[in-house]
Amino acid sequence: MKFRDRTILVTGASRGIGAAIARAFAAEGGLVFVNYRRSEAEAQAVVEACRAAGGQALAIAADVTVPAEVEAMLARIGEEAGRLDAVVNNAFAPYVFDPEARARFWETPWSAYQAQVDGALKATYNVCQAALQLMRRRGRGAIVNIATDLVARPSIPYHDYTTAKAALVGFSRNLAAELGPLGIRVNCVAPGLVWPTGASRRTPEDVKEALIAQTPLGRIATAEDVTGPVLFLASDWSGFVTGQTLHVDGGLVMG
């Protein structure tokens, strides 16, 4: 029970990887705030699953790209829990990974980049700004940002999405340098293709097979594969680790 009496916020936790991360924290005894934007019923189902897994959980609505909503969310966490030990920035702007119908560079308007930057970077910025107060107060905390291994190896060039995540990696390193002295660690987890999730359901079999063929561990990541590294970086076990990106892709990217 590594997270007993600990409070964790997971953004975009009503489905996919975020939901799996919320359940994993709950299974380790944590109090999990399950953030969602619109999918209230799904978020409530995640809360139920968290409770069934042995932890505590609350669903909490907020569009993380809107500062006022984020501030209200963190204020409520402060009231309800009085502390915040870890934040997992998992939410991102809606995106469909479809290698066949993807927009090529010359078909990608700046607005598409902007939407992804807002979803990945601005959302994380908002949450980190608002969470800082709760974490600084106790001089400790861990922030885990979900990036992608596509930054290191753009197997398929999803320009807008991957560029925004690359910015998130740079953002995280700077934040790690800034917040290290305050006792707050900032790291990234960079999964490979995670499947099945709503966003990846259009990935064709032969793309998966091609990735598997080049992956030393010989398969595609599941949402559950991502949870262990996230929990590690959120826990004291990684107490002397900050500014790092941990690839969770079966060895497709090394280094």
Binding site: P196, E205, I212, A213, L217, G218, R219, I220, T222
Partner: protein, 483 residues
Amino acid sequence: MNLFAGHLPGIAATEVEWRRLDFSAWGEGVTVDVPLLSEAQGLALAARVRENARSYLKTLPVAEIVATIDKAIARLLDREDPLRRQAEALLPVVTGYDAETVRLGLSGYLRTFRAPQLQRFLAEDFANPGVLDGFQPAMKGGFARAHGPELLLHIWAGNVPGLSLWSLISGLLVKAGSIGKVASAEPLLAGWFAQILAEIDPRLGECLAIVWWKGGDAASEQVWLNQADTIVAYGGNDALAAIRERAPITARFLTHGHKIGFGVVSVAALDARKAGALARLCAHDAMRYEQQGCYSPQMLFVERGGKVSPREFAEMVSRELAAFARRHPRRALSVAEAAGVAAWRSGEEMRAFDNEGRLVLGDAEDGWSVVQVDAAEPLAPSGLNRTLKIVAVESLDAVVPLVAPFRSFLQSAAIAASPEELFRIAALLGEAGVTRIAAFGTMTAPEAGWHNDGRFNLLDLVTITEIEHSAELAAEAFAPYVD
């Protein structure tokens, strides 16, 4: 969720007694009501289907039947179609196979029934498929025409989803009125297919019926056996023997019984680069449908002397099975199935205990097991549900005497070897009784128009009516234009 199975043209649902079957898997449950017809209803339905087929199906050109089947299959391939969505959602719960296995298996299987594949299917059995529509000139002189059965009874097994479509489509192509008996283990897909056919061509939909009776219910079965002139039955050998005993002597009885698939790997495929990819394909064939298909491998024979040894290859296959266990988790086993796996595994462990040439890989709680054996061992069933024995052999020729004693169980074999070896070993295995040689990775997906159990799927169903040359000549003498 409750569903009704079957397809009963001319009978209202309210007139029928229904039996409820319960299914649960992957945290969901579904109930399926299957029809239990009285003897009188059965007789009336058989008569109706026979008559509808005579007055309609038999008048359709085979090309039109192909076009209709093609449309129906296109709907089942369309992932947005409501029935396809239903199949993807419910078949995993009914069969226990994981959702991705069902989705990929369905698409791969249905693709073999599109129009071009059906044409190939026809061409495999008939040099001129026109013989199904009318008399065609025969090579030896005279004319010939092929007639399908008036009433074809299908008795299906439930081991692999969609198995029923194979014989149902064969029956349609030879214009037979069909009665299909679904298995309690998978009662849905045949009825859905019939329903789609009926939506596309309502009169065609009245030329087939999908029914149910409890497996082994001899009294219900007898009603149908008496009505059919041709019977196609799938299942275990004991069940088939019991049916054969009760089938009328005048009926043609075609069986697809229990088989044991295997694979053969030559040193040509066992270098550091190729072996990994091959191990993945071997594991795929053992994983897909939990070895419940007649075509699934239960044993691999691996030649010694390659860069990758049989033991190393067994380790690679194990690793791939472990990877598949994450992506396609094994279905929940029944008590009997779990006992079968455990008995097989513990038997092998006992033998491995004092024998250095035998290694059991993986843990008992893993969703798979591999046993590697250094000494030659004859073909034997595995524990099924992802259990595989990998036997080292001195040469590919050494495989033949290991499988030959089991002729009646032979059907599919996968071979990974050079072209020269492939043809040489295929000849030897064919003599021993193997009827299908496939590549690894495709064992569970026979190609369109394959000859199941080495038989002619369509030709076995028809009778040929011949106008002998003498009759043709004699008729000339009676022509009004005779000189």
